[in-house]
């Protein structure tokens, strides 16, 4: 059953087409991965879905409800929330207060006891002991968890994760991946994730969409997409596509 629908969305900045007629669907309970070389328009697409940027053309729907045209806070109220590629905690608030903002202003279901909700989310991501610290004192991975907790506190149906795993060490990456699975399995939240760490993304996604130069060039199960010639060309250039290889993440290289 389709939960989120992106229909023919385009975005131009002056003469540059950052997103070019992209359509995709997120099914309920699914984890959809989005990959693509730098500058492919992935984060721009997220900004459009989340309502922080208007599309130049096309529309986004959550079920029957049209999300396009809503302001960012309206999209959150409808049940779709995003995290940022470069984390943006509220530096003047404590960790607990950061998450409380999400609980207080998210979708109506979370608002009646926001502080309790905030404590729960902090416990869920493992930041309970840091509740009264300022974000400035946190490591990068802790700040990513904070951003995740804050987003979860809004009580979303759809979670847009923008490179939540990139930049942390492999052990932490595995922890994060587990957490993402739990979010889907135990909390019933559907997820779209952008990720550069292909191994992580491939291992957790049900389906993958590939963007290049703003266009969708491939879509399907991770194993299929990785062997798609267009995708290989986009990442590695034409010669590699001609040889029989596929795109392999670091984990694949280590296996016999």
């Amino acid at each position: 059953m389709t939960l989120l629908r992106v229909e023919n969305v385009s975005k131009s900045f002056g003469g540059l087409k950052a997103v070019d007629q992209v359509s995709l669907e997120l099914r309920k309970g699914e984890i959809l991965g989005i990959i693509g070389p730098n500058g492919a328009g992935k984060t721009t697409l997220f900004s459009i879905i989340a309502g922080s940027m208007p599309a130049s053309a096309g529309a986004v729907f959550l079920g029957e409800r049209r999300l396009s045209g809503l302001r960012a806070n309206g999209v959150v109220a409808a049940g779709v929330v995003r995290t940022h590629q470069i984390v943006r905690p509220f530096t003047n608030l404590t960790v607990l207060e950061n998450v409380t903002v999400g609980a207080m202003f998210g979708s109506p279901s979370t608002r009646h006891n926001p502080r309790a909700r905030a404590h729960e989310e902090l416990a869920f991501v493992g930041l309970a002991e840091r509740a009264h610290h300022l974000p400035a004192g946190l490591t990068l991975v802790a700040r990513k968890r904070l951003e995740l907790a804050r987003a979860l506190a809004t009580g979303p149906k759809v979670l847009l994760l923008d490179e939540v795993i990139a930049g942390v060490n492999p052990v932490e990456a595995i922890e994060m991946t587990k957490l993402i699975r739990v979010i889907r399995d135990q909390r019933g939240i559907s997820i779209i994730m952008i990720e550069h760490i292909l191994a992580a993304l491939m291992s957790v996604s049900d389906r993958v969409v590939v963007l290049d130069y703003g266009k969708k060039i491939a879509e399907g199960k991770p194993a299929e997409v990785v062997r798609d010639a267009k995708v290989i060309t986009a990442y590695l250039g034409e010669e590699h596509a001609k040889s029989n290889g596929g795109i392999r993440g670091p984990a694949a290289e280590n296996s016999p």
Binding site: R71, F90, V101, H132, H133
Partner: protein, 324 residues
């Protein structure tokens, strides 16, 4: 003690409540207990007004982080609206004050709604324009302000004496509101807007609504203060009510006292009033320069002003966790 607690809202700390009630009681009783000269009595009345305006300015300047250099516009609009209502003998006398507040708040909302989308310095410069444009246009609107020569109200010595208590309770309300806003959903929303407006919207904070609401409230309070001010002097004129110097005074009081803290601006207002007394007596022509110097010093050495100094001392005495 635990049964007591039930009656106090969760966000209100008993210590703060106790201090507040004690202060209100002391100030209420003061004129009965101590023989205050009329001058001191009146100066206290004015001080209460200034403290209230500083606290209210801080809601938009400190909590939301949008520095307004044009708040005199609401002070003047409220003051003249109240004065006109008083002239028309709208009774009882505090109704014109409320009216002034509503009109001022609405005015704030009118210019604020489009301008609040600007961030930081852009908003601030726009407010300089608001203040000046309001002054220029309304000075010539004789029907409202009586032109450059201003409006005179019938003098009522008894009312002026009792203004002390009206101003005190007005201040009490504003102080409670300040504390409540800071600890409420609105307050947290404003602080998140102040930190990162886009990220705030991305987690559901209704940015436009929060900013509009707080500017309305801030403007309304400042407008009521303008009305009480009109009753106090029985005479008001545009150049004083709408002047840039008046807008500056709001900024100064809050910054010197601690912009963004709950009660800091109140401290700043007290310092401001005392300083003014001293300067008017000894060096009347130096006050602007001194204020400018204070601003520079606060920004360079202690961004939270007097409150910052107090926090530093408190931290020495009692190592504390956590933030703001």
């Amino acid at each position: 003690m635990s049964t007591w607690r039930q009656f106090i809202p969760e966000w209100l700390s008993p210590a703060v409540l106790a201090v507040f009630v004690a202060a209100a009681a002391v100030l209420h009783a003061l004129p009965y207990v101590v023989a205050l000269s009329p001058y001191d009595h009146n100066q206290l009345t004015l001080a209460f007004l200034f403290i209230a305006t500083a606290l209210a300015w801080n809601w938009i300047g400190g909590f939301a982080g949008q520095i307004s250099f044009g708040h005199a516009a609401m002070f003047g609009v409220g003051g003249f609206a109240a004065a006109r209502a008083l002239q028309m003998q709208v009774a009882p006398f505090w109704v014109p004050w409320l009216l002034g507040g509503l009109v001022a708040g609405a005015y704030g909302l009118a210019w604020g709604h489009p301008t609040l989308r600007l961030r930081g310095p852009y908003f601030s410069i726009a407010t300089i324009g608001v203040g000046e444009a309001t002054r220029l246009v309304l000075t010539y609107w004789q029907g409202f302000t009586g032109g450059a020569s201003g409006l005179a109200l019938p003098i009522n010595a008894q009312l002026k004496y009792s203004l002390y208590w009206y101003a005190l309770y007005f201040l009490a309300l504003v102080a409670i509101a300040s504390y409540a806003i800071r600890n409420s959903r609105l307050g947290l929303g404003l602080l998140s807007i102040k930190s990162d407006v886009e990220a705030a919207a991305d987690v559901g904070v209704p940015v436009v609504f929060c900013q509009d609401l707080v500017l309305f409230l801030s403007g309304a309070v400042v407008g009521v203060a303008g009305g009480i001010y009109a009753s106090y002097f029985s005479f008001i004129e545009p150049s004083d009510m709408f002047g840039f110097d008046r807008s500056i005074s709001f900024v100064l009081m809050a910054v010197i006292g601690g912009v963004g803290t709950v009660f800091g601006p109140g401290l700043g207002a007290v310092v401001f009033v005392l300083l003014r007394q001293f300067l008017i007596a000894s060096y009347p022509q130096l006050y602007l320069g001194l204020y400018g110097l204070l601003l520079v010093l606060v920004v360079l050495f202690e961004p939270l002003g007097i409150s910052g100094l107090i926090f530093r001392v408190a931290r020495r005495l009692r190592p504390h966790r956590g933030a703001t």
